[in-house]
Symmetry: C2
Subunit: 149 residues, 2 copies
């Protein structure tokens, strides 16, 4: 299926999905957060075809989510490091993770926990708040056109 | 490409992406938040092939994100309504939206704003906090195995 590109869409969700909205790209970004940097490390972790991995990494680099950096110690290989733009995807990954923890795991089935480095304690659920500090649920939101303000 | 199913994976991110991690599914969920309920409404909004839309809606219903409900007024059509599980995806959509707003739009280019219904003001950026209330950035996190605790 040829996918219609939504990169010029007005919706920021659609535009983001155009950049990172395939299954593999977010898993590559997840692996980078887990410390992986080399093509061979991503390949071993994800088990996807090398040509697909190569295309995904190139696309992510093109969009400034990764940058290719020389490997240490004069190795001929290059490594892939998350940029600041890439690191700011952590909230997307946390949102995916917490939804999955809540709805896709049975009690006691969860082996991996996201913790705060300093305390070693699990992080709190993500919070969306209003300007005056109220916690916002899905029914509290709406989308408006800026020209209507 | 045949995709390896990650639904038995231990990682909640991978498991979530197995359910909603294709480009269209999240846009269908987004449209549902915008009030769309009928097949024809999703079709008109997204412009994807009817057979693909049908498969996506069926998969989302199978996973309990949508439920098929009879349309009002005795119409022969059915409608698709988000379940509680589906509505809890709002934080995933907000995280995608806010990242896109920050990194994929130029100043003044943003036409749509996510606002809090009560005040009409834009929502605050999502916050991830530690149990003792510290704001956590990407460098403050790590993943541990529950058996290591």
């Amino acid at each position: 299926m040829k996918r219609k590109s939504l990169d010029t869409e007005k919706c920021p969700i659609a535009r983001t999905l155009d950049v990172i909205g395939d299954w593999w790209s977010l898993l590559i970004v997840r692996d980078a957060f887990l410390g992986k940097r080399r093509f061979s490390e991503f390949h071993k972790s994800l088990g996807l075809a090398k040509n697909i991995l190569c295309m995904r990494l190139q696309k992510l680099a093109l969009h400034g989510i990764f940058e290719a950096v020389p490997a240490p110690c004069g190795s001929a290989y290059q490594e892939y490091a998350l940029t600041e733009k890439g690191r700011r995807l952590y909230l997307v990954l946390v949102a995916l993770r917490q939804w999955g923890e809540t709805f896709l795991f049975k009690e006691g089935d969860l082996d991996l926990l996201l913790v705060d480095r300093e305390s070693g304690q699990p992080v709190k659920p993500l919070e969306l708040r209003s300007q005056d500090g109220r916690l916002l649920g899905p029914a509290d939101l709406r989308t408006i056109n800026t020209s209507d303000r």
